[in-house]
Assembly symmetry: C2
Homo-oligomer: 141 residues x 2
DNA sequence: TTTCACTTGCAACTCAGTTGCAAAAAGCGT
DNA sequence: ACGCTTTTTGCAACTGAGTTGCAAGTGAAA
């Protein structure tokens, strides 16, 4: 449990002006190691015995999202998937691709997407999210 | 209840090889009249006294989605929003814009979005969904 | 009109996420 | 280190969208 990211997570909290607490460091650790969007349940499983209460995990996530450290990436089967925001630009997350056959979701970090342009006046686009569906390489062969 | 769309809805079911039933026609009617994505609850409210059971509405929607007549447009606050698919191309729905201030969502039917390009080999993109967030004209002034 | 597969409605259930509140602990000044 | 204040945590109970099983109802083909 002395992973190299431990110090960085503590740094993240400090920069965001948040108290250093076990649940916050633990949730950050789980999200960092996963490196793909995961659910609250997967966060708890990753932390197993030292996992905070589920309410706490939700509250920690809410707080980290508010600070822009974490994103709610997407919903699948009525369940939210969270990921670290450090691979996203300010206005746009990388797209997520879900395979309609095996139902796995992967991050497409290198896809380039222009921001949508709205013809009507007055809209200020702050954030764009792209979801892709289709067949992944494994199911497509 | 003799709206001009009644016959069209019946036609839709016939073309899809689905039985003509009250719940199916009613759900189609509600979605047609709304012309924006709505929830199962809003469908029921639209139909008020003649609304089918909520389970039936979900099953009708599921069936219409399978036939490509209806789309699950997006989720907001853990609730699914459904819309007629006739404003969407095969590979892409029009984007939906949600205002972060008033929480209203509108369809952006005239926005042009190219399909994402994935550099890695083997992915077959079947469908792309774009969600936008920001300030709507009313909240932006 | 009969028949049968497909649909519907009801009741009971599931389960992700939320709320209220009392107990714990982070961080500050002393 | 030691209180003190404020923020955070954990528990239990709740909420509400969506699902499941099953018996009763209905569309449409023969």
């Amino acid at each position: 449990m002395t992973s190299p990211g431990k110090k960085r997570n503590s740094e993240i909290l400090k920069n965001a002006n948040l108290r250093q607490t076990h649940p916050r460091l633990a949730v950050l650790d789980a999200l960092m190691e996963a490196d793909i969007p995961i659910t609250r349940q997967q966060i708890a499983e990753h932390l197993s015995d030292s996992a905070p209460d589920k309410v706490t995990i939700y509250r920690v996530l809410e707080c980290l999202i508010k600070k822009g450290i974490v994103h709610k990436a997407f919903m699948k089967e009525r369940t939210a998937f969270f990921e670290m925001a450090h691979n996203c630009s300010k206005t746009q997350c990388h797209p997520h691709f879900t395979c309609t056959s095996c139902r796995k979701t992967v991050c497409i970090k290198n896809a380039k997407m222009p921001l949508a342009e709205i013809n009507e006046q007055g809209f200020a686009i702050k954030h764009q999210k792209v979801e892709l569906e289709g067949l992944c390489p494994e199911c497509n062969s």
